[in-house]
Symmetry: C2
Subunit: 387 residues, 2 copies
């Protein structure tokens, strides 16, 4: 491997139904990332910039990365858009880390952004639908909630798990979100609330689904040997792994396991040279409550079928043995598509630097992020430590 990559700054807007347009969201996250650098950073130091976005507010479909150059005050720097649907952020971070490792890039900016809540409902459905398989799923009327509903039904039946495991994921993540000032939902819910909610795609109800959100997040990534000139506590990216599977769920060997997550995890652990036991907390891709259970199993923190009991035991709560989604996850923090993977790394940056405030995970030393695109079609995993 080449240079070790380190995150030296991070910014984050509030997620939710925001009055801001995409330019304003982008500028806020980027400004905050620069302001967060302990000993300051001149924008002219940035030599490379990556934008993760699926639709950039619906108006600048092509070439949106140049709008980032404009708004971030970075004309002159190479900017590029990286898109893997809901995993865009994780893959943009991966591209930036590779560029830093290669020695070609002295300082990279990564921005994740989506502006969704002002889109007409029909366009929003199209927009989300286009990230699933078109030929066998979307054109047959199968939405993402529909796919995950099928997966959840099969999972509960196969493993004889009750739906209270799903409800507990929602309850826990809403509890964490209530402590996160950037979360879309800062409101606690009970398991009963989750179970009484209107059905979206059985067995998934309203509180089993992440919301449609606006928001942006930004990271600054430097080679480790330069990082200490900016801060005493850089957050190192020790390992990254990624993998892509068939897009259509029907083509895959197993409905209740995501091979892409397993491939990504293998790669990340191999690069980082650490074992699962060394990881203090996880940020996983809980677009639906069932997805958090699948993630725990595919990442290897629980045997197939065991993630439900693990969750119900309280182990994945913020103060549990293996906290999962201390920021509220996609479920409560919100899911502005391109921003999500970048937001996960933002949370790691805050937690490992002991700057997460009321939602601080005690004793966090190492962390993992897990970002998925499509219904498990593509995944990116990263492992971090603090210096």
């Amino acid at each position: 491997m080449g240079h070790r990559a380190a995150i030296i700054g991070a910014g984050h807007t509030r997620f939710g139904a925001m009055p801001d347009g995409p330019r304003s969201l982008l500028r806020s996250a980027v400004d905050q990332a620069f302001q967060s650098v302990d000993r300051g950073l001149d924008r002219a130091s940035v030599t490379d910039a990556y934008l993760a976005s699926l639709g950039f507010g619906g108006w600048q479909i092509g070439n949106a990365s140049t709008v980032m150059a404009e708004e971030a005050g970075l004309t002159g720097v190479p900017t590029v858009r990286v898109e893997n649907a809901c995993a865009s952020g994780g893959f943009a971070l991966r591209a930036a880390v590779n560029a830093v490792r290669s020695g070609a890039t002295a300082l990279a900016l990564v921005v994740g952004l989506e502006k969704m809540t002002d889109q007409p409902a029909a366009r929003r459905r199209y927009w989300l639908g286009v990230s699933g398989d078109t030929e066998w799923e979307r054109l047959a009327g199968l939405t993402f909630a529909g796919v995950y509903g099928l997966i959840a039904a099969r999972y509960l039946a196969e493993h004889h798990v009750g739906r209270e495991a799903l409800s507990e994921v929602a309850r826990k993540n809403h509890e964490n979100g209530a402590l996160n000032p950037n979360a879309h939902f800062q409101k606690r819910v009970t398991r009963e609330d989750v179970e009484r909610a209107a059905k979206v795609a059985s067995p998934l109800g309203l509180y089993d689904c992440c919301p449609v959100s606006d928001g942006a997040a930004a990271l600054l990534v430097a080679p480790a040997e330069a990082a200490r000139q900016y801060t005493d506590t850089p957050v190192y990216v020790d390992g990254m792994g990624a993998g892509s599977d068939y897009l259509a769920v029907q083509e895959r060997a197993d409905l209740t396991r995501f091979a892409a997550t397993r491939w990504a995890m293998d790669g990340a652990l191999h690069e980082a040279g650490v074992s699962r036991g060394a990881i203090s907390f996880l940020e996983v891709h809980d677009c639906f409550t069932i997805a958090e259970l699948l993630a725990l199993e595919d990442l290897g923190f629980a045997e197939p079928g065991a993630a439900g009991p693990l969750t119900l035991s309280g182990a994945t709560a913020r103060t549990g043995r293996l906290p999962v989604n201390p920021d509220g996850g996609l479920k409560a923090k919100g899911h502005p598509i391109g921003a999500t993977g970048v937001s996960q790394a933002y949370e790691v940056f805050q937690q490992l630097r002991r700057a997460a405030g009321a939602r601080q995970v005690p004793g966090a030393e190492r962390a993992l992020t897990h970002n998925v695109g499509g219904a498990g079609a593509t995944a990116s995993v990263a492992v971090y430590s603090v210096g």
Copy 2:
């Protein structure tokens, strides 16, 4: 810099109004790239894959990179889409080269693809339009031909250059395209044909504009130290540079110079450690005839206003002193948006290995590719040599 990157295989479909859909085009280019590897290559050796595409045929807008995984027989490998409008291919190659340089990637596949000719005309206009500035250009009705028409009018007036310089770019590139079996147009035109053609956006006529094309191209990129196990003649990527400018032309300092190209060229020459004089031929982004003249000047091969006389002198013909676009360029070979930057590197691979057949540039040792997104908003430049 980390590992040196080398291209060890390349594939290319015919460009044009093709009967094939995007899956078939993709598969053809990838199959050909694997078949082109002199000592063979197992698909299982690929560890990373990049897709350059603006619209993937209009149906798989999000997560198209996983369709590449399916069609290329690469499920398990990380795949990601890179999009910078018409410069997507050049930026995808850059991301792959950075991944190889970093040591994280042992073998990368880069695919460029667009399927455009079966789109309804209105959607095609939208699709191209969305890559220009939306707020100040597209919504005001300014198309790409319109922007380049304004630039051409200003350039001709400012430099007292006659439009025969534009006509000669078209004549030369059609002559080259006539020798390229993959070109969209394999037909010679005279300067008089160009000047008599219907006007599109004055002074640009039909033959000043590249066509709307379907097509795909693919590259295999390995670290140099491994390249010789696959071939005796790898093509090395010695330097890459890139830059992004304001997207809206009105925000820029100069209408007839593209700063993004200059920034990209500075970066590429710096990395490669060579001077312009060492470069045998160029592949430049001639989406309109005027763009080839601008490229020659912004890349530093001609002073401002001197690219016209240089072109009229015959210097940029295939057998001239500095051949430009020996494959016919976007003008005659065609311009399937995401495929273009990858196709330019394919041409370099063929030419530097003396495999370009009837269009072979005599004595080609080093080459340069130049790929632009938007009307000069973003650019990627690469410099290559043969081993």
